[in-house]
Amino acid sequence: MKAVRYLFGILIIFLIVFPFYWVIVSSLKPADQILKPDLFPKALTLQHYRELLDQTSYLTNLSNSVLVALGTMLCSVLIVIPAGYAIYRMKFAGRKFVSRLILATYIFPGTLLLVPVYQMMSDLHLVNSLWGLIVINVTFAAPFSVWLMQGFFDSVPVALDEAAAIDGAGRMRTLLQIILPLIGPGIATISIYSFITSWTEFAFSSVLITSEELRTLPIGLNAIMGQYTVRWGWTTAGAVLTLLPVVVFFAFVGRFFVRGLTAGAVK
């Protein structure tokens, strides 16, 4: 039985890890080997990485993605925490309705919104601007993040709010000095979620950005693919370098994300 479990575990790990291995190995193979299905490379080269960095806009795309992802993360946190606090800690008419309505925003498929969003952003002069991308990414990340925060707010006893109120603390002070330190993992969770939502967003970035200088990584990588040709070396090297920041980010704060997703599951 144990052996079966181990075998099953190894199989699962293989299924998860192999695609990563294949992309990494392919990115290190010489051009004439990259299309051959050799499990272990006969030779290794950094040629594709050098060409990617020298001949494409990868670094520009990377800096744009970092800016947009960090901006989205920061804005989401600044919006979600007060919103979560209001919805899950304060009493007002329609509170439950609002909390359910937040998730209803996800009933619309994103592609349906492409053209109307473009026209709206155009009216706001937010087309072809990183700020415009941040705004749109926040609108996608924030609702789910607010809902995600429910478990964290619920895990902090209301008695703490009441004690703070007796001591003369206002709502804002209670949030900043009492609640905030106790929902650290929740903040990490929504930070990661909004960062990754932004990091991988393609459709709206493609539509809202018109100049090459402001393209993000998914758009830049898609451009490398080309309509008629695929530069496999650049594509695989680009995929590895695009994965890398997220992997590093997750290595440090991933455990908070997992904890956040299950917060409140057991009372």
Binding site: A31, D32, Q33, I34, L35, K36, Q55, T56, S57, T60, N64, L67, G71, L74, C75, L78, P82, L114, V115, Y118, Q119, S122, D123, H125, V127, N128, S129, L130, W131, G132, I134, A169, G170, R171, M172, R173, L175, L176, S206, V207, T210, S211, E212, E213, L214, I219, N222, A223, I224, M225, G226, Q227, Y228, T229, V230, R231, W232
Partner: protein, 452 residues
């Protein structure tokens, strides 16, 4: 100030600071071109003189093409200080959703790259300007290939300036065919025999796309042309897809798929080329993009890359899919039109034009007589290495055809090309098991409904 409000001040301060930083970042990369991009009617001022600013959108995203187009535009801007063209690369993926929205919102470009069926769609927005006068003067000086111009000429006007052409041919691995003692096929029967003979184990005779994609549409259409069934939709939008020759073409394609890798139903542009370069497939039907990566990816000498015109069916006709990419003019501003005329004059000068076309050597073919003879075209390292192959492509281009533009110009062809009905008809055979005749009947019904 109350202690409780300090938090709000902090929050507002942080947001404001971040907005300032991001606004700076957002405009930093633009160098002031945003205004031009977002306003179709800008006239900037540069060093005291009035400058006519133009925005050009093209959809050639690979970095080498972007860089070459930028070089051409920069060269023009340097030679014409009173004009500033800003070239912006877009994606074909956004062409059908974003571009119309952008144009209608007043954020469209002055010049927009196009292909024939896309022109019919954008023309419906009422912004595409006739380019008869530009064509007339360019044609007098450089002589356009008739097949490159024809798809843009209808309703008594020319609606785009063709800038480069693309044609399909049969690529073959000379080393693999020689080893099997097979001559490059010229007929369908020879093609099928060769594909069968070259298929064994995990090696395949041919790699064909069979997904619902434009790649499949185009390769299939080359079979329709060589079957003698190139007219699928007439100028008055009469659908003539369902006929015996079309059925033969689909049957042939379906037969050839037996000698194509098993995952062909997922293939688009890149996969057949990958199989070909890897030596897994001995033949493929595609355009000239096979030149630039062959040696590097196959590890074989350039002489192993063979190309012949598309094989022809019994009773069919020589040819294959060919279409020119063009540039539409979307502004009616007189100053801008004068500047645009100057740009085209500059672009089509042979020493400039060869360099422009070689943004993707072999894939982009010249559409003018003197462009096809220009040293700037033939001296390119890739083109000179594959001179004989390029000559085959140029010859094939003269026999090319494009669906919707062979029997007059169909104004509704975009409604057929967009949903990939030609490819979907094949899917009826490969996925649903329909016979070629039934699948073609299905295709006829779909196309009729689309153009109604």
């Amino acid at each position: 100030m109350k202690k409780g409000s300090k938090g709000w001040v902090t929050l507002v301060g942080m947001l404001a600071a971040m907005q300032v930083v991001l606004a700076a970042c957002s405009s930093g990369g633009n160098n002031g071109t945003n205004a031009a991009a977002e306003n179709g009617n800008t006239t900037g001022v540069n060093t005291g003189a009035a400058v006519t600013e133009l925005t050009l959108w093209h959809m050639e995203e690979p970095p080498n093409r972007v860089a070459r187009f930028k070089e051409i535009v920069d060269g023009f801007n340097a030679a014409n200080p009173d004009i500033k063209i800003t070239a912006q690369v877009q994606s074909w993926g956004d062409a059908y959703s974003k571009f119309p929205a952008a144009i209608q919102a007043g954020n469209g470009p002055d010049l927009l790259f196009t292909i024939p069926d896309y022109t019919t769609l954008i023309k419906e927005l009422g912004v595409v300007q006739p380019v008869d006068d530009i064509i007339e003067s360019l044609n007098a000086a450089h002589k356009f290939q008739a097949s490159s111009l024809a798809p843009y000429q209808y309703e008594d006007h020319t609606w785009a300036v063709p800038v480069f052409g693309m044609v399909q041919a049969l690529w073959y691995r000379g080393d693999l065919l020689s080893a099997a003692g097979i001559q490059p096929p010229t007929t369908w029967d020879e093609l099928k025999s060769a594909a069968e003979a070259l298929t064994s184990g995990n090696k395949y005779g041919i790699a064909l796309p069979a997904s619902k994609s434009m790649a499949t549409d185009q390769v299939l259409y080359s079979f329709l042309v060589t079957a003698g069934a190139k007219n699928i939709l007439s100028g008055d939008n009469t659908v003539t897809f369902d006929n015996e020759k079309t059925v033969e073409a689909y049957q042939m394609y379906s037969d050839l798929l037996k000698f194509s890798p098993p995952d062909s139903n997922t293939y688009q542009w890149g996969e057949p080329q990958a199989q070909f370069n890897a030596g897994t497939a001995a033949m493929a039907i595609e355009k000239g993009q096979y030149l630039s990566t062959f040696e590097a990816e196959s590890g074989r000498p350039a002489s192993d890359l063979g190309v012949v015109p598309m094989p022809v069916a019994d009773g069919g006709e020589a040819g294959s899919i060919y279409y020119s990419n063009g540039i539409m003019v979307l502004t009616d501003d007189a100053n801008k039109k004068a500047a645009i005329t100057k740009f085209f004059e500059y672009l089509f000068e042979p020493e400039t034009y060869g360099s422009f076309v070689n943004a993707e050597p072999g894939l982009f073919l010249p559409v003018t007589e003197d462009g096809g003879q220009a040293d700037s075209f033939w001296n390119d390292p890739v083109i000179s290495k594959y001179k004989s192959q390029v000559e085959v492509l140029i010859e094939a281009a003269s026999k090319g055809a494009l669906f919707g533009f062979t029997d007059g110009v169909s104004s509704k062809i975009g409604k057929v090309a967009g949903p990939n009905y030609i490819a979907q008809t094949l899917e009826q055979m490969t996925s649903k098991g329909l016979s070629a005749a039934d699948a073609v009947k299905w295709g006829q019904a779909q196309i009729e409904a689309a153009v109604k």
